[in-house]
Amino acid sequence: MSEGIKVPTVAEMVAQGEKPDILFWVGCAGSFDERAQKITKAFVKILHHTGIKYAILGTEETCTGDPAKRAGNEFLFQMQAMANIATLNAYEITKIVTTCPHCFNTIKNEYPELGGKYEVMHHTQLLQELIDDGKLTFGEGAFKGRKITYHDSCYLGRANGVYDAPRRILEALDAELVEMKRCRKNGLCCGAGGAQMFKEAEEGKKEVNIERTEEALATGANIISANCPFCTTMLGDGVKHENSEDKVEVLDLAELVAQAKDL
């Protein structure tokens, strides 16, 4: 129903003498990775639906430098960071939302010292705010009675202490949240953080994403919800590995919201 959304770039807005209220930082995964693009699109549909004045940087956006930093390449990180900060400051951006907890963490915590001071939100926080403000309402919940488990990403959870916003969204969707034993502060990593996404794991007896997926499947939920494009990929691979893709879906909270709103 929402075919043909025009996603505005900041450059276009500025050319028309306007400014976005909030910049949507898409991130590399959200821009290029096929699975993550679905999350990006779902989130854009929600932004569009709620009438928020948002924009993206488009081709002016570049990697935050997070994976380079975690991999120990501080030079490359700071090069990326300063280039991005120059762009963001030139457009006088003050508020940023992103669907990637790694981008969220880096821009929120590591950019300020380098001159990039913004109000940074993770998309689950914005979604929760929209729900609280009544700008995003759900009728007879599409997920009523559905068993959903939730995977805390390390960089939203332990790294930044955001545990409740995503759960509040699930509550609003009327879903039955079934927690894994390792949740919130004790959540188990999906295995992708610290630049692990981009390399093979060291030798061991198991892959981390399989360990985590098994725990998620053991809850009996048929939806594993997540908040991070990397977690979504890792857990999606895990579900395939366990031959459960017919029964269980791995979905970002933005996708759940978009589904519930039939966007």
Partner: protein, 434 residues
């Protein structure tokens, strides 16, 4: 005879304090082999963290069984030390139960200490069974073989011996009190040691005095010996947990500090006008040896009591990779000790040419997902991730020894502004499909 005992006691006490002070100086020096870093912001928050985490044992009780037993030993340790104070005074001045003038308060206190002593003793036995009968896996992982495992067992055994000596001493003492022996004034209440009385009852006063003296000496010598054992053991956490939690990282766990020396270099490249042209070029990037860590990383290492909660929640370790956050801390401390000893022998400028990388392999370092589960799990706020991260920086920026895939990722970021090989021009292509 009595003066001889007092003189002997003062000498023993002096020697014990001398060697303990020496050990404290050694540890202090080793901690400050680490780099200077100012950590004194937000003092109220720091005090709160220390009170919550160290004094209040907040993170210990996350695992309730170990947590509650640990609190018993901890409370016992602190309160029974009040009695040790009395023992010290008695030893120096030849008095007996010098604080007995407190009357009922004293009786209640001694009775309470006895109950605590029993609880400590039972907790230690329970801990030993967890370690050696139940064989909880985290006490038996690779890095625990040999000394670390013995160290843990010795500590528990010593505590059992000390508590047993205290209770038996009280038993002998109360029999002497009952028999009206000189010097043994009637004082204290003995809810636990009263059950040991039948064992001492049949003996004569003179034999009992020998028993009581031997047990008294055993108790205090045990304590002084233990005091001097602690600085060579993982048990240091009983002191260092307090400063270590006070100096905890207060920033979000996800914030990895930016290297200021890199900032200036990058500014020189991108925007020379904002850079400091006179800043000295950086000497070294990242962590090669313990001398490249901060003193707080070193304090972390000396505070670690090797409980292994970090390793038991580490996703890499759980799935069989070599990385163990506990081993990172143990290696750091071992290396600090080694380097410290060499500096003692060969002068403070000496460096043996080996490094922390000789103890911690690349395989361990690259297995970390930086998930911070270890940091969250540590009951005394130790941060192994900072050390791992610093060592990665050294591998990448000094040695160019990143795994190949990560080099490719970095090249992609440099060339395509994304970690994958996509054209930057295609970044917004998804907008056309919506």
């Amino acid at each position: 005879m009595q003066y001889l005992e007092q003189i002997l006691f003062v000498i023993v006490l002096g020697v014990a304090i001398f060697f303990f002070t020496k050990s404290v100086k050694r540890i202090r020096r080793n901690i400050f082999l680490g780099k200077d870093k100012e950590i004194n912001d937000n003092k109220p928050e720091r005090w709160k963290t220390m009170i919550r985490v160290a004094l209040g044992q907040q993170k210990m009780v996350v695992r309730p069984i170990a947590g509650i037993l640990h609190i018993l030993i901890y409370v016992g340790f602190i309160l029974i030390n009040i009695e040790v104070l009395e023992i010290l005074i008695d030893g120096i001045f030849g008095t007996h139960r010098v604080l007995a003038f407190l009357g009922p308060v004293y009786d209640v206190a001694i009775g309470f200490f006895e109950i605590l002593a029993l609880l400590v003793l039972l907790s230690c036995i329970f801990f030993l069974t967890r370690r050696w009968i139940q064989k909880i896996p985290r006490f038996h992982s690779v890095e625990m073989k040999g000394w670390p495992s013995k160290d843990a067992t010795y500590i528990l055994l010593i505590e059992i011996v000390l508590m047993a000596a205290l209770l038996k001493m009280n038993a002998a003492d109360q029999v002497l009190q009952a028999k009206g022996a000189d010097h043994y004034i009637a004082a204290g209440s003995f809810p636990v040691s009263q059950f040991l009385v039948p064992f001492f009852e049949p003996f004569s006063i003179s034999t009992l005095i020998v028993f009581e003296r031997v047990l008294w000496w055993a108790h205090i010598l045990g304590i002084l010996a233990f005091l001097n054992y602690i600085p060579f053991s993982k048990h240091l956490h009983i002191f260092l947990a307090f400063p270590n939690t006070y100096y905890s990282r207060l920033q979000p766990a996800g914030e990895f500090s930016n290297m200021p020396e890199v900032t200036n270099e990058v500014k020189l490249m991108l925007d020379p006008s904002s850079a400091d042209p006179n800043a000295p070029p950086p000497e070294k990037f990242g962590v090669n040896d313990v001398t490249d860590l901060t003193w707080k990383n070193m304090l972390d290492a000396y505070t670690c009591t090797e409980c292994g909660r970090c390793t038991s929640v580490c996703p890499a370790n759980i799935t069989g990779k070599k990385l163990s956050p506990r081993k990172i801390m143990m290696d750091t401390r071992d290396r600090a000790e080694q380097l410290g000893k060499e500096k003692d022998r060969l002068g403070s400028e000496y460096h043996d040419g080996s490094s922390l990388h000789d103890l911690i392999s690349k395989e361990e370092l690259w297995a970390c997902t930086t998930c911070n589960a270890c940091v969250e799990a540590c009951p005394v706020n130790i941060n192994p991730v900072e050390i791992i991260y610093g060592m990665r920086q050294y591998l990448v920026m000094e040695k160019a020894e990143a795994p190949n895939e990560l080099n490719m990722m970095n090249t992609n970021i440099e060339n395509n502004q994304a970690p994958w090989q996509f054209s930057p021009a295609d970044r917004a292509n998804w907008t056309k499909e919506i």
